[in-house]
């Protein structure tokens, strides 16, 4: 029984990395279709890290960001969080709505729903890739949205599963669109039983 992410073997971590690559690749394709222009992604970085480390990794606790969150249930339970940096949001907004924003303040309803949609696409393509690969049935809640300090946003999966583990899986990559590179961050925090189930389904768990 896995008690902590720190106990994962290197083969298991490699498998999670692979899921991360495929998932973000699919997300780039989905974004590209939505905007009707090419979007590629740099090789994503997939890391298992501690929460405090994850907060530093995305830019410090007090920095304000937009977060889109869904809860997974079914074969895999857990939380997935997409952290929307302004650069990424602006690439989509300028293509779709012909406008850009310089802060998260005073968002219009349209800008807000565009942000939720970006997060939704990122998360659901990622989950689709993962469930397709491992033949899983995963249900997602309707995405929830918040603009606030990212330290507090990241605490949500942390508090939900913090009693069991201090680690989460962070996936980071850069989308390249019209010659511009914009960062994207996804955080996946499955409950540990689900993680074990996932790895067993993929045939890499030795338990």
């Amino acid at each position: 029984m896995i008690k902590d992410y720190a106990q994962l073997s290197s083969m298991e971590i490699d498998t999670l990395r692979e899921i991360g690559s495929i998932g973000t690749g699919n997300a780039a394709t989905a974004l590209s279709q939505m905007m009707n222009r090419p979007v590629s992604i740099t090789l994503p970085e997939v890391r298992i890290m501690e929460y405090n480390e994850a907060i530093e990794w995305i830019g410090g606790p007090e920095e304000v960001t937009a977060g889109v969150l869904v809860k997974m249930s079914g074969d895999v339970g857990g939380i997935m969080l997409s952290v929307q940096k302004l650069e990424l949001v602006n690439v989509v907004l300028s293509t779709m709505l012909g406008e850009s924003i310089d802060s998260y303040e005073n968002l219009t309803e349209l800008e807000r729903s565009a942000m939720i949609e970006i997060g939704n696409i990122m998360i659901s393509t990622f989950i689709n890739a993962m469930s397709g690969l491992a033949d899983l049935d995963i249900k997602l809640t309707v995405p929830a949205f918040a603009v606030d300090m990212q330290g507090a946003i990241l605490t949500v999966p942390m508090a939900e599963y913090g009693g069991m583990s201090n680690y989460l899986m962070a996936i980071g990559g850069n989308f390249v669109c019209d010659g511009k590179e914009v960062p994207c961050h996804l955080l996946l925090s499955p409950d540990l039983r689900s993680l074990e189930f996932l790895l067993r389904k993929l045939g890499v768990s030795d338990v």
Binding site: V142, A144, M149, V156, A159
Partner: protein
């Protein structure tokens, strides 16, 4: 948990559903700032006592009393316990903040601690600053005026 005596300001960043507790002994100019994440410690090994309201408050009191603080003089101010996301159909998700508030209240009462200031609940994250000399606390939030209490 951080303690400080003499002068200075303690700070904890971006409290969402977490709660920040400022303990103050005015005579000793001694303060402690505790940041808890969950209401109750149910860990088997209890390797992270400061993460939980119950064991965190106990540890903090132990540290302060070791420095000569008196529980009768001590005052407490708390902030945090917000609900960051409204997830429809998410079950218990997002209620952690409320559970933290209730747990902290119950434990402070049980430990006979004097709660003199509180800014909890809501949907906005808070950064909490605490001056160990005056005992004054300040909350910084995104897009809002600072609150001093």
């Amino acid at each position: 948990m951080k303690t400080l005596q003499g002068e200075g300001v303690l700070i904890t960043y971006a409290l969402g559903s977490c709660i920040g507790l400022c303990f103050h002994d005015p005579r000793l100019r001694l303060g402690a700032l505790l940041h808890i994440m969950l209401p109750l410690n149910m860990e088997t090994g209890r390797t992270h006592p400061l993460k939980y309201a119950d064991t965190g408050i106990k540890e903090t009191l132990k540290a302060l009393e070791a420095k000569g603080a008196s529980r009768a003089r001590m005052t407490v101010k708390i902030a945090g316990g917000a609900k960051m996301f409204e997830v429809s159909g998410g079950g218990g998700l997002g209620n952690i903040g409320q559970r933290n508030i209730e747990s902290v209240h119950a434990i402070l009462k049980r430990e006979n601690l004097h709660l003199i200031g509180e800014h909890t609940g809501g949907t906005v994250a808070r950064t909490l600053l605490f001056d160990v000399v005056s005992g004054q606390a300040c909350i910084r939030s995104y897009g809002q005026k600072d609150i001093i209490f």
